[in-house]
């Protein structure tokens, strides 16, 4: 498809500004982070300086707190991914059924996704999970159960619950979109073959959702690797290091211990981790783009 009777408008004038801005945004800070990760720079001890090769990287690997934070990150990301995908599929199946007031129910169900993380964290911590005045403790007491002090005894679980609440609507919304594109004949054929609801789910619906599930997993993964606000407003990484994830370690290295070198090396580890996921995500997007081109 080539335009008739007109020359192409200038790439530099139209696409150029976006590309140049993003190029600066991508290269500048990353170059800075790489530079700081190879030098000794600590504001608490400004006389120390100089190029130290991989010392910052190695010191992090030798630091048990770093490994705790990696483990915490994996637990946090893995749990929230599992919860949001399973809950998202169930919610999407429910909300794709026809029932009176469905669009209203959908609006209510997607709302948590639009809540600012700071607000979500504070509302859950104080008004829902507070051991004395929280709704959950009241429910537990009414049922005669022992009361849970969430942020004292199960801090990681509490944070996982909050973030799952925020992100389940996103998964639901994506799965709803995917379910809508499912050909009705496929379901009809399976029904004629005498497939029960469970068979229908495993044989028809789940395979159809496959790509949507992959997309949700990867997109959420990239967001979850940068979780910060929810931890900052509830536990500040504690008690001890129970909820310290990689982001939080980097933040503390940089702005509590003023060790810029170590923080930057941690940052580069985070970039590497995110890029592993991003690689697969970009491949999926590229494949879809190509399919779309041939389809058009």
């Amino acid at each position: 498809m080539t335009p008739v009777g007109s020359s192409r408008p200038s790439w530099w004038l139209l696409t150029g500004p976006s590309v140049i801005l993003l190029l600066i945004w991508m290269i500048g800070p990353l170059a800075g982070a790489l530079y700081f990760s190879f030098v000794r720079k600590n504001l608490m001890n400004p006389r120390l300086s100089g190029f130290v090769w991989f010392d910052n990287y190695i010191n992090l690997l030798l630091d048990p707190v770093f490994w705790t934070s990696i483990l915490n990150t994996l637990v946090l990301v893995g749990s929230v991914l599992a919860i949001t995908v399973v809950a998202g599929i169930l919610l999407a199946l429910l909300m794709s059924e026809e029932f009176p007031g469905r669009s209203f129910a959908r609006l209510l169900a997607i709302s948590p996704f639009f809540v600012m993380p700071v607000v979500a964290a504070l509302v859950w911590k104080n008004m829902l999970m507070h051991p004395v005045y929280g709704i959950l403790s009241w429910v537990q007491r009414s049922l005669g159960l022992p009361v849970t002090d969430w942020f004292q005894d199960y801090p990681m679980t509490a944070i996982i619950l909050i973030i799952s609440w925020e992100w389940t609507p996103f998964a639901m919304l994506v799965f709803l979109t995917s379910l809508q594109s499912m050909p009705e004949e496929q379901r009809e054929a399976a029904r004629l073959d005498g497939a029960g609801p469970l068979q229908m789910f495993y044989r028809i619906i789940l395979p159809h959702l496959g790509q949507a599930i992959a997309a949700v997993l990867m997109i959420e993964c990239i967001f979850f690797l940068s979780i910060y606000a929810e931890i900052f407003t509830t536990t500040s990484g504690g008690p001890g290091t129970a909820t310290t994830n990689l982001v939080y370690v980097i933040y503390k290295r940089g702005f509590n211990e003023w060790n810029y070198g170590s923080a930057s090396a941690g940052g580069i580890y985070a970039v590497i981790l995110a890029n592993i996921v991003a690689f697969f995500l970009i491949r999926l997007i590229a494949r879809n783009m190509k399919n779309q081109e041939t389809w058009k």
Partner: protein, 276 residues
Amino acid sequence: MTAPHHSRARRWIITVVGHLVALLMFFPILWMVLTAFKAEIDAFTTPPELVFEPTLRSFRDVFARGDYGTFALNSIIAAVGSTAIALVVAIPAAYRLAFFPTARTQFTLLWMISTKMMPAVGVLLPVYIFFQWTGLLDQVVGLMMIYTLMNLPLAVWMLYTYFREIPYEMLEAARVDGAGLGSELRHILIPTAMPGVASTALLCTILAWNESFWSLQLMNVQGATLATFISSFKAAEGMFWAKMSAASVLAIGPIIAIGWLAQKQLVRGLTFGAVK
């Protein structure tokens, strides 16, 4: 096919379960809204009070804090300003990519999307130091710049997909009639793509408004946004729950409304077309 009475029972169950689950998901927000209309003393009781005398006191208290206006204004400047700039930069780019595709187009789009996958914390220090040097620290303009760059790939991508849906013949016909680029934009592209541009703007606004990593790290007093303001309640163990709720309702109310409007377009923007 099952018997009619059976499917009627099923429909009833689904209706009830559907609304119950929706209410359960919405409950934390509902509870926050209720608490915002309580007096401080009613907000902090055991068992929690469902029946209370509603009051606007907490809202008045929040507004009475002289700096509330500053926080709200900063949030608006950062979110709306960054969205406007991102659109101005992205519309020409998306136009060129959508209507004059070359062998490089797909690569350009994918590369733009990939810049969005950089974890913010990875570049926290260099950005912080850069802001320190240039005096952008605690200046809302700096935050607006970051949000513009953060949303730019998303805006280009979304606009690109909307532009691709415009039938090419329409543009061709206009060109045969001798319309220049300017009138092509004015008479064909902007009117047909308006819904797409609007949903792109809404999604960028939502993401910038709710962003909290950069605003908590880089803004402090002068440039602080609502996220910083609300996080200042984190130490107030039970003392200001009604005020905290009122401030939160004010902060998330408009954005939930925007989210409801944009819900159908959200998936397109957030999954970069990975889901059909």
